[in-house]
């Protein structure tokens, strides 16, 4: 069903350069100014990189590790690798050396194209353990002047070699592109993995192109979309939205100036198609709310009044009910006075479609943006499915589900409660890991690892990780992640870990959000010196106790989950950190590791003690370790009796 003339990404890029030569393909903010590159330039730049790689002896099937922030040149390096029949392997740019060494070695990367000195340094340190790595090519020459390693090469030099190579072999790249077919391996994306070593999911051109195409049709995307590429290139979502869909749909990808300027750049670009994980939606909301609270009282009152109108109207729209005449008039007024300016201020004025995925999002948060008129929808997917499985359809959005399967994708729930799926995006297997492939892929169906259910209208609802679904000592169902997400819907909580498997009741280890609790403390004149200090303030404990009680109250009404209310909790003395391996780089809790590391704290939660002394190892970014000592309090939480069936 794929046109053989357009069945790989390099072929699609050539088509774009031919059909839309003058259209902007990618933008990058550099030295404070947005630099645009048209499709013709996109292809030309990638061609020079490909020629340079060919001059270095790149062979079909070779792997290129790609490391750095979202930069046009790194996307071009990806395309260049594919043009030569090679496989790009993007890595998380904040990986520590050990993680980088594992992936570069495991993927057998011969080439690495990296952003800057920081990444070069990391690779040079581990090169001894990566025998296959021959060339490290860097984009930004800053600080590289005194490097003398023969394996190092700047991208400019590489392209220069490419120019020379082209004089002898003018048609080399076109010939190589012509050899590519749909079922060639397009990319290996290493999943961060909540347990053990990362696994490299292999995706073919067909996987990605068909999935991208299906979603484009399903969502009605056009070549005039603008998307912001700011999430790690190693992550399947960015690969789908900023690379695969951009090439298939011919739309524009925008690379922000730096990680710190994303919200500012968002406003300058005004994307029409936007993706953000829940924590970013949360951050934006928190920033807005703080700014609103700082405004004069008349503005504050006005904003709150109109936000209430918007919430009422949106609730009725979601329930497919008519919005009353008065509310409709007020909403129209609100659009002029509040919603429009607010959306514009956030850089969301032009958004037609926005997604959230990766973690559960609170219905309140989703409702907030939707009520402002920002069309945020939940999507569900994973690397193994080429990023997309289901999307909430326009006009059929339910706040607590992840929508219906994309065209061509089938979803069923296994007896164990696990979500299974199959479809055109299903990956080829894990690179050099047949055992894991066999565990995950079963007759074309993929074990998602998530526990979920399909509701009456065919909407998928995700409850928890399948393997994390636990039971208390008395047999009560205990879905830790579901509880944690409910907790994290509070602006004051950043991270939570619930324990209770085989125990008499559920208990929680909690990280407060330093920004919002700090602000809360400042407004009340509570002085603090550090995260550890703030987390152990009795006032903060009382604040969080109320948040836990809120969760318990809602659980009371959720049938079998009423028995999973949180009885005791503590506030951790340090923030969970990927450098300490407590959470993954995508901020997923590593439960087993935390169970071991904080065994003393967990025991104390069940011992009836009201405090516990701890000592913890922390790893700094440069790999050094240090020790944190603290005394951690433990508090009871208010629980609510389940109402008997009426």
């Amino acid at each position: 069903m794929l046109d053989p003339a357009l069945d790989t990404f390099p072929k699609l890029a050539l088509r774009n350069a031919q059909r839309l030569p003058g259209k902007v393909a990618i933008r990058e903010k550099d030295l404070g100014i947005w630099q645009s590159y048209r499709w013709s330039e996109y292809v030309e730049q990638a061609r020079l990189i490909a020629l340079g790689l060919a001059a270095l002896g790149f062979a079909r099937g070779d792997k290129t590790a790609i490391v750095g922030d979202n930069r046009p040149r790194l996307y071009w390096a990806m395309l260049a690798t594919q043009a030569l029949g090679g496989v790009p392997v993007p890595l998380y740019q904040d990986s520590i050396e050990k993680e980088m060494q594992y992936i570069v070695d495991h993927a057998e990367a011969r080439f690495a194209v990296v952003e800057d000195q920081e990444q070069v340094d990391k690779l040079l340190h581990v090169r001894g353990q990566c025998p296959g790595l021959e060339y490290i090519i860097y984009d930004d020459p800053r600080g590289m002047r005194h490097y003398r390693d023969t394996c190092l090469l700047s991208l400019d030099d590489l392209q220069e070699r490419g120019r020379k190579f082209a004089r002898e072999n003018p048609d080399y790249v076109d010939q190589e592109v012509g050899k590519g077919v749909a079922d060639d391996l397009a990319v290996i994306l290493y999943t961060s993995g909540t347990t053990g070593q990362p696994k490299g999911a292999m995706l073919s051109h067909r996987n990605l192109i068909v999935t991208a195409q299906n979603a484009i049709v399903h969502e009605g995307l056009t070549s005039s979309e603008e998307v912001l590429a700011y999430l790690p290139m190693a992550w399947a979502g960015d690969h789908m939205f900023s690379y695969a869909q951009s090439l298939v749909g011919g739309f524009t990808t925008n690379c922000p100036e730096s990680a710190a300027t994303v919200l500012h750049d968002l406003r300058e670009i005004g994307p029409t198609y936007f993706f953000a994980p829940p924590r970013i939606w949360e951050n934006i909301l928190t920033t807005v709310m703080i700014r609103i609270e700082d405004a004069s009282w008349i503005k504050r009152r006005m904003v709150h009044a109109f936000l209430a109108v918007a919430r009422r109207a949106e609730a009725r729209r979601l329930a497919h009910q008519r919005v009353g005449v008065v509310d409709r008039l007020l909403y129209a007024l609100g659009r002029i006075l509040v919603y429009g300016p607010l959306r514009d201020n956030l850089g969301m004025g032009r958004i037609r479609i926005a997604y959230t995925a990766g973690e559960a999002i609170s219905p309140e948060l989703l409702g907030f943006y939707r009520s402002l008129g920002v069309n945020v929808k939940q999507v569900y997917g994973m690397t193994e499915s080429s990023a997309l499985i289901s999307i909430q359809k326009d006009g059929d959005v339910k706040l607590d589900t992840v929508g219906t399967p994309l065209p061509g994708v089938e979803v069923r729930i296994a007896e164990s409660g696990e979500v299974m799926y199959r479809g055109p995006g299903v990956f080829l297997g894990y690179h050099k890991n047949q055992e894991a492939t066999a565990e995950t892929l079963e007759g074309g169906w993929v074990h998602s690892g998530d526990a979920g259910l399909l509701d009456r209208d065919g909407h998928l609802k995700i409850i928890d990780r399948a393997k994390d679904l636990g039971r208390l000592a008395d047999g009560t169902i205990f879905p830790p992640k579901y509880l944690e997400n409910k907790l994290k819907f509070s602006p004051y909580l950043r991270e939570a870990v619930c324990v209770g498997g085989g125990r008499p009741f559920v208990a929680a280890l909690i990280n407060i959000d330093l920004g919002s609790v700090g602000n809360w403390a400042e407004r009340r004149g509570i002085a603090y010196t550090s995260y550890t200090d703030l987390a152990q303030k009795p006032e903060v404990y009382e604040l969080i106790r109320q948040e836990v009680a809120r969760v318990n109250r809602s659980l009371r009404d959720e049938g079998p989950l009423a028995g999973a209310q949180i009885r005791r909790f503590l506030l951790l003395h340090k923030e969970l950190d990927p450098d300490d391996q407590e959470i993954t780089r995508t901020r997923k809790v590593r439960r087993g590791f935390i169970g071991q590391k904080y065994a003393a704290l967990i025991d104390a939660l069940y011992s009836g003690a009201d405090h516990v002394k701890v000592e913890a190892q922390v790893t700094y970014e440069d790999g050094r370790t240090g020790t944190v000592r603290a005394e951690v309090r433990i508090r009871e939480a208010e629980a609510f009796a389940a109402e008997m069936a009426r």
């Binding site: 404070g32 600080g143 730096s258 710190a260 300027t261």
Partner: protein, 261 residues
């Protein structure tokens, strides 16, 4: 008189400074080589900042000479010293609090601007081209010091560590040959210090700027400097490589204190 070494960028020769009855600097001689990072250390009141002030022309020495790039410039005013290619930052951050970071850094370019009042006022022709050229240079510094996110933020609203970085940016905007940093890391946390160290080293390597800095954190001093000079009671008590100075008995005594009986 000491023979002038060929690669000395700055020579301080027998300099003395007296405030009333206080001898702030006493017969201090020091040679700063082109391209090096020199740290000036010493206990409080040892005369470190005074020495920096003498070099940058804020004070004029009552005796001795200062030679920069081989020319005597003992009695120049700060403005002229800056024009020679010496820029500095201050112990207490001295930014224009109400101005944006970008404008603050632009002020560092003032010496490079050749303006005509009329053209500037009209923002026309060469004035506009010049503004663009300077702005492009400033943007490179913003990129270099990774402060893109605060370009438009008023300097006074920034946390202390970032203000220090902006001050460094402003000094760099003057494209100095010699950069004087007065306690660039004072009041910073470990992470901010590490960042600042990296920036100082990068400036030195990337632009070849010679750097003289005052610093109290000995681990920082030992890590980044090629050359250390120690002062105590206005006199130079040690001068050499970091290892030499660290092992010097006079320096240890000055820091740990010995009874002056």
């Amino acid at each position: 008189m000491r023979p002038a070494t060929t690669n000395a960028l700055l020579e301080v020769d027998g300099v003395g400074v007296r405030f009333g009855a206080v001898q702030a600097l006493d017969q201090v001689s020091l040679s700063v080589r082109r391209g090096e990072i020199i740290a000036i250390i010493g206990p409080n009141g040892a005369g470190k900042t005074t020495l920096l002030n003498v070099i940058s022309g804020f004070y004029h020495p009552s005796e001795g000479h200062i030679r920069f790039e081989g020319r005597d410039r003992t009695d120049l005013a700060p403005y002229d010293v800056a024009a020679l290619g010496i820029a500095r930052t201050f112990q207490n951050v001295a930014l224009f609090k109400g101005m944006s970071v970008l404008d603050n850094i632009m002020t560092g370019r003032l010496l490079k601007m050749k303006g005509s009042f009329l053209l500037d006022a009209l923002y026309w022709g060469p004035a506009k081209a010049q503004e663009l050229e300077h702005r492009a240079f400033v943007e490179r510094i913003i990129d270099f010091l990774e402060i893109q996110a605060i370009r438009k933020t008023p300097a006074g609203r920034l946390p202390y560590g970032l203000q220090k970085r902006v001050e460094l940016a402003r000094a760099l905007a003057a494209e100095p040959t010699l950069l004087l940093l007065d306690e660039p890391m004072a009041g910073m946390n470990v992470e901010e210090k590490e960042d600042m160290c990296r920036f100082i080293l990068d400036v030195n390597r990337e632009f070849g700027t010679t750097i003289a800095l005052i610093e109290h954190d000995m681990s920082v001093v030992m890590d980044i400097s090629d050359h250390v000079a120690a002062l105590d009671y206005g006199r130079k008590i040690a001068d050499g490589t970091p290892d030499e100075v660290r092992g010097d008995q006079a320096v240890i005594d000055a820091y740990l204190g010995v009874s002056h009986v």
